[in-house]
């Protein structure tokens, strides 16, 4: 497109500015984790590892990491199984109500978290009479993690088509053998990418978690929320926030490399 150089320069400047504003707050959190000032005033007066040491020694924070990992691993495994079955069904077959089923997969992530959260809270507590705990968090997280696995596997199935599977069946392989030797090896990297995204999504989820976790279960985001307003904990919260940034962004980079396109991240 033909644009005058002034317009071009303005656009470059605006794009740069937006990216700066997008990354600056996250960078501030990272820098503040080394800031010796207890109130996190700017600019930092020096560099210290004191808060990292304290965060490492904080039992509450460590327990919270363990809970978060447990929840994320369990819900990722459930999401991998259910998401793969769902994408095989929707990508390889045609049936009545297919678009409604598709919508149903997306719904838990499309509705505001508070609606999902209170609906599940109400269902667990008010209707089923279940005590809230780590299991209810896992069920809730698995429900909205299905969509990330589903998106990745479905995109891969669409790209690879059905001819290998048909050839395998023509050569006499049964349903299991075809899945084990033909379909699964081709899906492997898509499953890994989808699983990483599901893990990241579960690891830092807060809204649905607050409604389904009950008093005894503390995931890392809940730990942050509980300690956010305690002045003497502020620097440690800051360190934990950096950990949360790393744990959620690194899997995304990996997933992006594995799936080889940016489509999978949406």
């Amino acid at each position: 497109m033909i644009l005058s150089s002034t317009v071009r320069r303005v656009l470059v400047a605006l794009t740069g500015l937006v990216l700066l504003v997008m990354y600056l707050p996250l960078v501030v959190v990272v820098i503040n984790s080394f800031n010796p000032s207890r109130t996190l005033t700017w600019p930092p007066t020096g560099v210290t590892l004191e808060w990292w040491r304290r965060a490492w020694e904080s039992e509450g924070a460590r327990d919270a990491v363990v809970s978060s990992v447990e929840v994320a691993v369990a819900s990722t495994v459930i999401a991998l199984v259910l998401g793969t079955l769902m994408s095989l069904a929707l990508q390889r077959y045609r049936f009545f109500g297919k678009s409604s089923v598709n919508l149903l997969v997306i719904l838990p992530i499309a509705l505001p978290g508070i609606v999902t959260g209170i609906a599940l809270n109400n269902a667990f507590r008010g209707i089923l009479g279940i005590q809230l705990g780590i299991l209810t968090v896992i069920v809730a997280h698995a429900t909205f993690c299905i969509v990330t696995v589903f998106n990745n596997v479905q995109a891969r199935l669409r790209r690879m088509g059905g001819s290998f599977e048909e050839a395998s069946a023509d050569l006499g392989a049964g349903v299991w053998t075809t899945f084990r030797l033909v379909t699964f090896p081709q899906l492997r990297s898509a499953l890994l990418a989808g699983g990483l995204l599901a893990f990241a999504l579960s690891f830092d989820e807060i809204i649905v978690t607050t409604f389904t976790a009950g008093a005894g279960t503390t995931t890392l985001p809940i730990w942050i929320l509980n300690n956010l307003f305690r002045p003497n904990q502020a620097p440690v919260v800051n360190v934990v926030a950096v950990v949360l940034i790393l744990v959620s962004i690194l899997p995304i980079w990996l997933a992006q490399k594995l799936s080889g396109d940016t489509e999978a991240l949406r």
Binding site: M1, L3, V7, L11, V12, T15, V18, L19, V21, M22, Y23, L24, L26, V28, V29, T39, W42, V81, L82, G83, L85, A89, Y93, L104, P108, I114, V115, T116, I118, A119, L120, N121, N122, A123, G126, A142, T143, I146, A169, G172, A173, V175, L181, V182, Q186, L197, D204, I206, I207, P221, I224, L225, L228, V237, N238, A241, L244, S248, I249, R266
Partner: protein, 303 residues
């Protein structure tokens, strides 16, 4: 995609149960489909659809104020309360106002960057920019709100950067909520607008230029009208996600309340789940209204 042929040795046919099941399955695609769908569909319907339906029903229940027990007879008391009490109207209007403001800010910020990404940047730069925009989307929502709490705090970087210009940090309040929410949902608005701009043919804009239109005129009369569905698609995200927020308000909003806070207090401290369910209906109804209003623009196909 290459298939490892060395391992693809098909085991010889045996009369095992697995083999029999397999040949049954190969002959019956409908049975295969039902087996594939059974587990995920049961999960989603049992956990999610039933929960949503139950939410609607329990909005009609009440809580006995003495015992705290839930009374499961159906009444419209909760709905009457949220439509007549001025508290709910004030908070609902405030929430819609914040959500609308966040959406306007996001669209205004997203337009130039999406335009640069789609129409000006080279293919290589475009790829890098898409990743650069997508990555913060995956950083924790909570951490982003916390980051703005640090940025806007008394003695924080905002104050430090603004003081040479005689400005000050807005502090914690509704302004901070709008800034933070606009920040959090910005990638969700940039991406549909970027995708929409990629679909606008360059030739149209070039033709407008050849016929003497200034860049501004061709932008206003050619690009923007074609972009309306994509802009609305983006606005659905920022609007809907802001309507349901209560964490950001807690972290940077000072004493202000939004609908989400009222829901949260009634679930927790006030222990009035039916009233909370009734309040949660407000954002749902607003969103359904919004989606119905924009459906005719074709925005829903742009999500």
């Amino acid at each position: 995609m290459s298939v490892d042929t060395t391992r693809a040795a098909v085991p010889p046919s045996r009369g095992t149960a697995a083999r029999r099941a397999s040949s049954q399955l190969s002959a019956r695609p409908r049975l295969r489909l039902s087996l594939l769908l059974a587990a995920p569909l049961t999960w989603l319907v049992l956990v999610y659809v039933v929960a949503l339906a139950a939410l609607l029903v329990s909005a009609l229940w009440t809580v006995d104020s003495f015992t705290g027990e839930i009374d499961r007879s159906l009444t419209l008391d909760n709905l009457k309360e949220i439509t007549t009490e001025s508290l709910y109207r004030t908070v609902a209007l405030r929430t819609v106002g914040v959500a609308a403001l966040v959406t306007v800010v996001d669209v205004l910020v997203a337009l130039p960057i999406a335009f640069y990404m789609a129409k000006v940047a080279s293919k290589r730069a475009q790829r890098i920019l898409v990743i650069a925009v997508l990555t913060p989307l995956w950083a924790s929502y909570l951490v982003k709100a916390f980051a703005w709490r640090s940025v806007l705090s008394d003695g924080g970087i905002f104050q430090w950067a603004a003081s040479p210009f005689g400005l000050d940090t807005p502090g914690y309040g509704l302004t901070a909520v709008v800034i933070t929410q606009a920040y959090i949902w910005l990638p969700y608005v940039i991406l549909p607008i970027f995708a929409g701009l990629e679909r606008v043919p360059n030739s149209l804009v070039d033709a407008a230029g050849d016929l003497g239109a200034s860049p501004w005129t061709s932008m206003r009369t050619i690009v923007l009208p074609l972009l309306v569905p994509a802009i609305i698609a983006g606005s659905i995200f920022s609007f809907s996600l802001t309507l349901g927020d209560y964490i950001t308000v807690n972290i940077v909003g000072g004493a202000n309340q939004m609908l989400g806070n009222l829901v949260y207090t009634n679930v927790g401290a006030a222990n009035n789940l039916p009233l909370a369910a009734a309040i949660a209906l407000i954002p749902i109804v607003i969103m359904i209204g919004y989606l119905t209003a924009v459906r005719r623009t074709g925005a829903l196909e742009n999500l």
